[in-house]
Symmetry: C2
Subunit: 331 residues, 2 copies
């Protein structure tokens, strides 16, 4: 295993300490339980938007903590859900008296642990709502999920709902908005190579030199099909076609396109794929109004990418454009 | 070769078209010759700061084009210098009547081609100065270089000098500032894996599963030594010790620390290494006042990292902090 690590078992805490040193103006970090919290938390009379899940998908979610996005993030061990206690600790650190919205990617462990945390926090008098993101159109159920998985669309939801919370939208409003984004966002990903979990020490799966996995999950879960390596046009078409058909997205729709690196993809290849996607969408009469290109929902060093489309409207566009100050998104 | 490409020979142009679509508000792109220019260029009565070099190091340099940083970037083919004609075209697109500063990484091809371009532009009446960045302490000469190579320090220089140009500093002032940053910045890098150049189709070198290369260049040029894989503490020490000794950086110095991914390193490992570096510097009494952590000077999908230290003063810190609006740096 070729990694830059000290003790594999301590990788999450060690990385969090480095992150805290890198962004002292934006975040505070705790390592037991592992938490990343806005430096100015709790923000009084503002809905706390909190997410989390297994580590290894950085910058998701800790890189999105800061004004205009998340109030806190709860990183579990690599590819493993955080405990209910950790989620509850995040709620109590970030909660400013206006309630908490939990943003949960649809993986069985996350759903259960965030639900338990919500019950614990409710019992202590905090109002908690939950949105479960399930934007991945690749498979109906998977190794870690009943129903669709939550992937890249989570980033867009966290940005938009975080902006609304920052502007003073109440818990009901944030929750309705989150459900609305969730209904309008779809994703699909692919991989050329496998990630290696530090405490496992071996690649999560094997792909031959001339193979790729279409519909891959962000933990290396199997996708729709393992097929011969194709060129960029073919790869992007295999991701966008199912995404477009699913909602469906149709001619005249205005969209946000996220071209997301799975971690190890060179930026050159990512921009190239983004260009292919924009041209395919233009051919269908779908109007790309906003874009985000980069590594935002990753799977350690896995090479590959995912495409996410969000159907925009005036409100979502305004919330997307509003200021954000986090380690990974900043405008 | 596992890459997301169409025709390997067209990869730079294809990626540039995607980049133009991704950032229509920030940059304009041309593909023959390949250029990335500020959307609002030329900016009247403002020094044009222009850089370039072989592609494959993204976001360097095109990702740093925009207000507060570069006026234009000239990407050559992958790991190959741009032609003098291309550099001259960038000068004529970006030049606003206050002269041009060329920022050149010290590789023989780049130095020659930028020099020729400077002569061509001068003959047409444009005042041109050049700074050659040579921050890599790893080796004295290398495969592609007489003297030290230019690596991660280039990003810091481009940000600081770009800020000064944006504030109206004249060509003499920008040139002196660039020389001053160049004198105060030092770097060293390492690799766990090799990059694959698209038109070559095979990894640039081979490393055994238990080996790493210390002092690697950003084109996979050999470094100081090939040694057994070490833990993060050992790796960071092997990079920082030579950097500290070289300037030297000493107790009480205030510095900017750039912890740079070579491309394929997970953000988790990068933050972990950053934390190690900050602790090592604190032990030596060196005060980290600013930091940048991420993939800024890469070598395609190579896994590894580099550490860059810049000795700050009040002027450099103010210029670092001033606003920047580019695809890859934004605050």
């Amino acid at each position: 295993m070729k990694k830059i690590l000290n003790e594999p078992a301590n990788v999450v805490g060690d990385a969090l300490r480095g992150m805290a040193l890198a962004h002292p103006d934006l975040v505070r970090v705790r390592t037991d339980p592992a938490l990343i919290v806005r430096a100015d938390a709790p923000v009084r009379d503002t809905v706390a938007v909190i997410s989390g899940g297994g580590s290894g998908h950085e910058p998701l979610h800790g890189g999105f903590v800061g004004p205009g996005m998340l109030s806190a993030a709860v990183p579990g061990p690599v590819f493993t859900s955080p405990t209910p206690d950790a989620v509850q600790a995040a709620i109590s650190q970030a909660e400013g008296g206006a309630g908490t919205l939990l943003v949960v990617k649809n993986y069985t462990g996350d759903v259960l642990n965030f639900e338990t945390a919500a019950e614990l926090a409710s019992a202590e008098g905090t109002e908690v709502r939950t949105v479960v993101v399930q934007d991945d159109v690749a498979v109906r159920d998977s190794t870690h999920t009943a129903g669709r998985r939550g992937v890249g669309g989570t980033v867009l939801l966290e940005k938009i709902v975080g902006a609304a919370a920052q502007q003073g939208t109440d818990l009901d409003g944030c929750h309705r908005l989150a459900e609305r984004v969730s209904e309008r966002v779809r994703s699909m990903g692919m991989a050329l190579t496998a990630p290696t979990v530090p405490h496992v020490g071996e690649p999560s799966f094997t792909l031959d030199e001339d193979e790729m996995e279409i519909g891959i999950g962000i933990h290396g879960e199997p996708g729709r099909e393992r097929v011969p390596l194709d060129n960029a046009d073919g790869i992007v078409r295999r991701l966008l076609d199912p995404v477009l058909e699913d909602l469906p997205f149709t001619e005249g729709d205005e969209v946000l396109l996220l071209t997301n690196s799975m971690g190890g993809t060179p930026l050159m290849e990512l921009y190239l794929a983004h260009g292919v996607a924009e041209r395919l969408l233009a051919e269908r009469g779908i109007r790309v109004q906003r874009r985000l290109v980069g590594p935002y929902t990753t799977s350690l060093e896995m090479q590959g990418l995912s495409m996410t489309l969000l159907k925009l409207d005036a409100e979502l566009t305004e919330l997307w454009d509003s200021p954000v100050h986090t380690p990974a998104l900043h405008w």
